[in-house]
Symmetry: D2
Subunit: 285 residues, 4 copies
């Protein structure tokens, strides 16, 4: 079913749902999914309405034009997206391909809906896999430091700009993006971190987890902000580990969680189910 998704945030007050639902009903719109959340602490209102596109006499542009005055009245930060226009996604990866391979498989089998514009990597290793899927592959090697590194990220940035993505996914891209690059795509860069944040921020989280002797290891899907591993969390999960598990076992077990958590978080994001609320997220799952 083709649908429109009306997603927005505004200060809470009496009558918002009536106003929104009233507007949709006036257009003859059939609601096929509705979520609201009233944050009683911040007095903010979050919503996601999914409307059967076939029940409306207008296209998305007209819908937007008609809704704009309502949104203005409500002081609402909003967007309207179309389910049939899959998001353009740039995937970034280093050498470990478990997340990338899983996303490409889910995409190809139709289990997750997006348009993989290209893959950018700092290594050549995964070119055959990606090109077999018919997806363009760009390799930009990132030198350890200095001018070369700056140049590499400028080239990366240029490639991203050309791809004009809605969303960028760091599917185990083992480089830290420079702040200026993060700042260009706020709440549009999604990272998978291989620990249960805020535990084990930074490098080698499985080694950290092994050292601490935790009994579960996890993964965290979050939006990238300028502060490392500190952005709004979209999704997390864990898996049980045992005393006889080595760091290598943790890595292996963790991969299972990483790919699941990233796929789940990305799906929420692509279906416009995630609204950022300060450094947290509202997820209408």
């Amino acid at each position: 079913m083709r649908s429109y998704r009306l997603v927005g945030t505004c200060p809470d007050k009496v009558g918002i749902v009536a106003r929104i639902a009233g507007f949709i009903a006036e257009q003859g719109g059939s609601i096929i999914g509705a979520n609201q959340y009233e944050d009683t602490e911040t007095r903010m209102f979050y919503m996601r309405y999914e409307v059967d596109a076939g029940s409306l006499d207008m296209d998305a542009e007209d819908f937007r034009a008609a809704f704009a005055p309502v949104a203005r009245d409500l002081d609402m930060d909003w967007r309207l997206t179309e389910s049939r226009r899959p998001q353009r996604v740039v995937l970034m990866v280093s050498k470990l391909d478990h997340c990338l391979a899983d996303l490409l498989h889910l995409w190809r089998s139709g289990d997750i809906d997006f348009d993989p514009v290209c893959v950018i990597s700092n290594h050549e290793d995964l070119r055959p896999l990606v090109e077999w899927h018919g997806v363009p592959y760009h390799c930009v090697q990132v030198p350890p430091d200095g001018e070369g590194k700056q140049a590499a990220f400028e080239e990366t940035s240029r490639l991203i700009r050309e791809a004009a993505p809605d969303t960028i996914v760091l599917a185990r891209y083992m480089q830290i993006l420079p702040p200026w690059l993060c700042a260009e795509y706020p709440n549009r860069i999604i990272n998978i971190h291989h620990s249960f944040l805020p535990s084990f921020v930074g490098a080698r989280p499985y080694h950290q987890a092994f050292q601490r002797g935790v009994k579960l290891t996890g993964a965290t899907c979050h939006y990238v902000t300028e502060e490392l591993d500190a952005g709004p969390i979209i999704e997390q999960d864990v898996i049980r580990i045992r005393h006889h598990d080595t760091v290598e076992d943790l890595v292996r077990l963790g991969k299972e969680v990483e790919k699941t958590v990233l796929a789940r978080g990305l799906r929420y994001h692509l279906e416009d189910r995630v609204l950022v609320q300060g450094n947290k997220t509202v997820v209408f799952s």
Copy 2:
């Protein structure tokens, strides 16, 4: 926060949410929680609205009177409940007290809100525990069969009627209620079954699970209907078991899941989050 919960089901059509939310807004009602579900297969609409009672000028009776014409228009099956009027609950139990003790503890600590009118058991064993909590205890022994059994259930039925419960909880009451008694309280009797239904219906499910060699054992909280262990499922969960676990271990591990699942399912029910849909449930958790 004192609230009203408006819960209902009606045939789906354009404009229902607008109508409901519009009505609430007209009364000045501040919505603090809203859930809808549109079943595209059966074309039915399910909803739960929670409204800040302090934002309304009317009491529950007036609210009901005002809403009745709206509901009539929508052909809606509905109810309005008050968060501050906890449901009257009759708890039934045999000898195993893990579920009962957990519910009484949750009630006493304020973690789950209901009014435990009385406990009815077919044994005397749990009287001290129940009476320590200040809850009346009735023992009605149920003979294995025949007239005595019928009489016992009539006495049980009389005690229940006197207690005038909103909800009856079978917290490991090891007797099968007669159909006529089930029929008196449709969707108001909640049972905890000690397996992951529909696996292992009937007697001794842990023995059945042990024989089959499953790797997880579970528990199911469901509404009681005339057909044994076949009513609408409210909540389920499982716990991992290992080859070295004996039937006794399964019983012990299962208790942990049973009490959790029953408490969770009962909470959903008491907070009016469960709507029955044929032999299934909509749970606005």
Copy 3:
């Protein structure tokens, strides 16, 4: 680390562990993993010893010859395998490729160790994927019934025999193998069933689960026996579903569990961690 795995079952009695461990110590063997299980009900003993191959002066053949008299004394059913000789595995599949793609990816990335001799399918669909991985692909179409069907399974059987597999994996092969074919590979054919057995045996388990309104859906990895979906269970897991999930959602969510459960179960099997005990399994995980 190269290792030998000594796996066996015998009637329980005093001194077995001493005998086994004594034998290993006499050869200078360094134990790197040891599991035992004494079933107090059947009075049977199950064991798995993993020995550092580098610590022994003998090769596997000599080890077997030396151990044979000990095993005879203990009336033990046993085998010795070498970690560095990965099992030969035939993968069978129909059209749904989530399990197959996951296994091939895990194999290629070294996360699970086996030798994928070939893939046999009753459709051509997955040939490109499989051949990209460099694995031979055989397509044997299976007519609905009658002589053609018999002939197809004879051809399938011939292909399997030629492949000389240690293990056959039905990675969503949507045909029921004939009993005579099952009987040729006892405890060596592994199936993934897309429900939490014994719930929803047979066809279309996700539809059955949807109809029953369960709150979790699952997957079961088990050895194939002549009775459909009734063989010894190796591994199971579940995932939570919600009232708004359609059958299609169940299928999608279920795929995530299916591939995880099959990969986990297959790993246990390939690492000689699974011992069949009647219609159950001992899993030294």
Copy 4:
């Protein structure tokens, strides 16, 4: 079944299992459970053998005397305990009783085996509950600071000493024990911390979790050391939370995990399944 548990750690070398199992066999001992773990990194060996006491001609004292020379040879740190001599346990608690009530219930119903010598609290609140269970209750109020605080902990220490416990359980005892008191009972004080450590160390972990916007909240059962919330972890688990959950919801959901994790961790400890390995634990579950 009455059993002895032989638990120990020593440097790894060839022949340890043969030596231990050989010793047990010489006494005619029937092994009903055996776990070993060889840490390849530290080259240490950990073991737990459970022997049917009825199969031996000797009592525990004789067993210990006979085993001592073997242990000396192996340079083993060991102990032998008797399943029929439940550990003496002192329970400490403040006002929140969910963990305490659960443990007392499990104890009374025979689901966990220990001898609750007494409860020590810094408040009077839980006296009725504890005394109803027939367990002595001591209240030692702990002033915020200074000499009074020191005196309170000396009195607490005196009460503990009198109780002569094997194990002390901090079942939500909201005071930090002074280092000198921790040092008296190494690896014998068990705490339940209401977060998934190492996330949210210290005070008000649920508030910290709420602020960070995590999607799972957890609990950690660990041995108390002089460094706050940094001791060896015995057991952990998590529960899913949603954006609409308030801090109060987190507290409520967390209680469910806390009591489960503490009961599970304590059971492992009481059954001598936990061996401390530096700042980590080996858990033979």
